[in-house]
Symmetry: C2
Amino acid sequence: MARVGLDKNVIVERAAGLANERGLDNITLKIIADEFGVQSPSLYNHINSLDDLKKSLMLYGWKQVETKLLLAVVGVSGYDALRAMCYAFYEYATDNPGVFNAMLWYNKFQDEETHNATKQLFGVLFKIMGTLNIPEETINHLIRTFRGFLEGYALLVNNGAFGNPASIKESFDLSVEVLLAGIQNLERESKI
Amino acid sequence: MARVGLDKNVIVERAAGLANERGLDNITLKIIADEFGVQSPSLYNHINSLDDLKKSLMLYGWKQVETKLLLAVVGVSGYDALRAMCYAFYEYATDNPGVFNAMLWYNKFQDEETHNATKQLFGVLFKIMGTLNIPEETINHLIRTFRGFLEGYALLVNNGAFGNPASIKESFDLSVEVLLAGIQNLERESKI
DNA sequence: TATTTTAACTAATGCGATTAGTTTTTGTCA
DNA sequence: TGACAAAAACTAATCGCATTAGTTAAAATA
């Protein structure tokens, strides 16, 4: 009955690793508990439920993504900054498929905490697109455009939905250019 | 012990309705069996497992989407046809959130049967983009672009990930125009 | 009409999340 | 230092679910 020194952070981090290895849907409290050499009910001293743990996983992921994306735009501006953020997000999502799934599904938990996890990220996006003379309302729309595409594309990649693996990177490259060119085009034609 | 007259199709259709109402993750064999006034093990005379049922749900969804999208492009061509398909897909995905989830997740079951469910759809997409003078290889990339965006955006909408519901439609409208303009732009600059 | 097949049934297993109640460790305060 | 309170582990038990095995009755077929 020696204490292991668990706490929520440790559990979330281990769960993140397991989710990435085995898939989010395949992790159980039993599996996590075994990792720590502990009985599964013991985890309830640190978490409220499996759903609670998955929500923590979601927040953990968004915080990591935020950090990664903010780093990616240091010293870059305009369309290049947007491009860099797309690549950084894609890299995180495909490197961390389990955590990414939690980020995806648990959008439904959107609340104050979630909001805070991505506050800076939104701030930076507004700044970047602001320098491109895109009005605020349009920026809100375009963030959704990128988010939809990036989450969707990464999800398809992670689930092996694309037959030919060789060209997945090329498809992503082209997709990003299409999005950026589309924004430029609408801007030029003053449709934005 | 009167027979109810179940078969796989009936079960799949009922499961589709339940999934749309309650969410894919919340349907159980018990719930489906109750709907038919039958014990849950009885379902095993018609399906192999819950996973098998979800796979059927995925195929069912893709077939419905195919039909809907093919209808949407009757009498329309070029970029207008692409636009029409985007809207048709989005409508199906948001009208049928449960089935759409099955379509999404069960990409991993990609096999001959799945392939057949969307064969015509791909054919039509190639035809449409072919008339826009887009080379075949690029068409393959662009289908992925659209698929990523459409599935991702619909997923975010279905999960309530966007705060302000009022402007969700506007964001979609703009997103589609960005994509179409992006393709046009790259084409004009001969980058495709 | 007899027989085979099919589709329902009941009973049972096993797994996972979760809860309740118990014991032991650890940290705190007199 | 020693009692005590809090925290973290434990065991035992419940409940709901998917799934399997074996049984019975209805339908289809010969």
